[in-house]
């Protein structure tokens, strides 16, 4: 029993990280019709900045904050300078471009921080007790932060005019423009937000893993799996699928350890065979070459 309860909580914290990082992919696809691979760079940078700030100031939260800010700032730079040129072009342009940015980022990380993985101390070692099961407080905090982010993002999308414009843009970018709304400003804002969240995801994950230059590679695969399983372009889909995959990784890994790695892919393959657009995917926008 105790094994399963802690597995569920670990799974939820994995879901939390997956969700935060995957938003960038999901929204990038849904709104801008680009495959936003360099979010993994902001994820990695978030973790590295946390490492640096924890070792210099001891404050994990300062690290998370700088992760968010740097992610957002870089996202702004990349979107306005580079991605503007690939909007409306074939999907492969954005894929190859953003992947290149990611590679450049990995190269820079190696120069700054070196090749060796870095450990990051957890901000709190407190254990909570639920029915006699010890659960690290930090994991619960991560779940809380992701939950708040989801609710905040939903409120932003449903209550603010810019959020409504984003939802409208996911449905039809051209019509939004025809109203006279500067869709590019909306793109930039969304991109900056999503990049910041990816940075936050990296920062929060830093104490749970070893921070290494290739940490983005694994996360890239999982984030993809999350977004594809949920359906590209659907925030709700991303949320639900992050919840599912977190449990697949955690509970699956408890049953048989290799499942924690391959389980998500099998779930994704199985779902894709029956639903090629994912769980909540919108038909039509799921296909890459629909321009």
């Amino acid at each position: 029993m105790s094994v399963w309860l802690s597995a569920v909580v670990y799974g939820l914290s994995t879901s939390a990280i997956l969700f935060l990082v995957s938003i960038a992919l999901s929204v990038g696809y849904g709104l801008m019709r680009i495959v936003n691979l360099e979010a993994m760079l902001y994820y990695s940078l978030g973790a590295y900045l946390t490492y640096t700030l924890v070792s210099s100031t001891g404050s994990m939260w300062l690290g998370a904050l700088s992760g968010v800010l740097v992610g957002a700032a870089l996202g702004f730079l990349v979107e306005t300078q580079l991605l503007r040129r690939v909007y409306g072009k074939n999907m492969l342009f954005s894929m190859v471009t953003t992947f290149s940015v990611y590679l450049i980022g990995i190269g820079l990380i190696q120069y700054i921080w070196g090749l060796n993985p870095k450990p990051v101390a957890s901000p709190t070692d407190t254990m909570l007790r639920f029915w006699g099961v010890a659960i690290p407080l930090y994991r619960v905090m991560i779940i809380g932060i992701a939950g708040i982010t989801y609710i905040g993002f939903q409120l932003f999308l449903t209550r603010t005019i810019v959020g409504k414009a984003i939802r409208a843009g996911i449905e039809n970018r051209d019509h939004v423009q025809s109203l006279g709304i500067n869709i590019y400003r909306i793109f930039t804002l969304t991109f900056v937000l999503a990049s910041g969240l990816a940075g936050l995801g990296g920062a929060l994950n830093a104490p749970l893993i070893m921070v290494g230059p290739y940490m983005g590679n694994d996360m890239l695969l999982y984030a993809f799996t999350t977004v594809i399983l949920g359906g590209l372009g659907s925030l709700k889909g991303t949320f639900v699928s992050a919840l599912i995959l977190g449990q697949v990784i955690s509970i699956g890994g408890t049953i048989w350890s290799p499942l924690s790695f391959v389980g998500p892919f099998f779930v994704m393959f199985t779902v894709l065979i029956f639903k090629p657009n994912g769980l909540f995917g919108v038909k039509g926008i799921a296909f890459g070459f629909d321009q």
Binding site: I161, K164, A165, R167, A168, E171, N172, D174, H175, V176, Q177, S178, L179, G180, I181, N182, I183, Y184
Partner: protein, 232 residues
Amino acid sequence: MEESKTPLLRVRNLYSGYGNLKVLFDITMDVYSGEVICLVGRNGAGKTTLFRTLAGFLKPFSGEILFKQKNVVGNFPFEIALSGLKYVHQDKQVFSDLTVRENLELASYATKDYDWDRVFTYLPKLKVLLQRKAGLLSGGEKQMLLIAMALLGRPSLVLMDEPTEGLAPHLIQDLTQVFKEIRKETTLCIVEQNLPMVTQIADKVYSMKEGKIVAETSNPEEIRALVFEKYL
């Protein structure tokens, strides 16, 4: 007589298309303030391509488009919309995930025109539908909503792509009345397949075929003849 006035929209020798595919050839047309222009022609004649080019979604290969005597070629679609040239797309796609109110809010947010009452005088039906999800509206109601959204910001010219497509005859009649009212406020340019409507409201008709304008007339008798020619 009309030569003395400057046209609201002036198109000269316009060539346009998608990628390498040329669709429009040497389009020349004038739209004057207060007019209702109808574009007729078979599917694939290039009417939608023309509208998409005018609205800024397609970049023309060559030719000029002057709106209010300003060159708009190369402007972003949203800039063109803000300058007073609104484009109502073909497929009656409202933002189905949003309510009618939210759809209108978006249009107002862009144009800073919150005078919904003015719009409701033309389209009173919308007033009672404000809370409804736009995706649940009927075809006619969706078209009304799109027209309302286009009218916010007091545009000088509204391009409408097949507004009556797929609507029941009595709705088309309603819409014709709406257009007759709207024309007091704005100039209209409509791609239209519906013969009675064209003969009722059009001041001028352009007939398109294979990417070219093949006929143009402002004479009511000729409009009738032209439209018949297309259908028979």
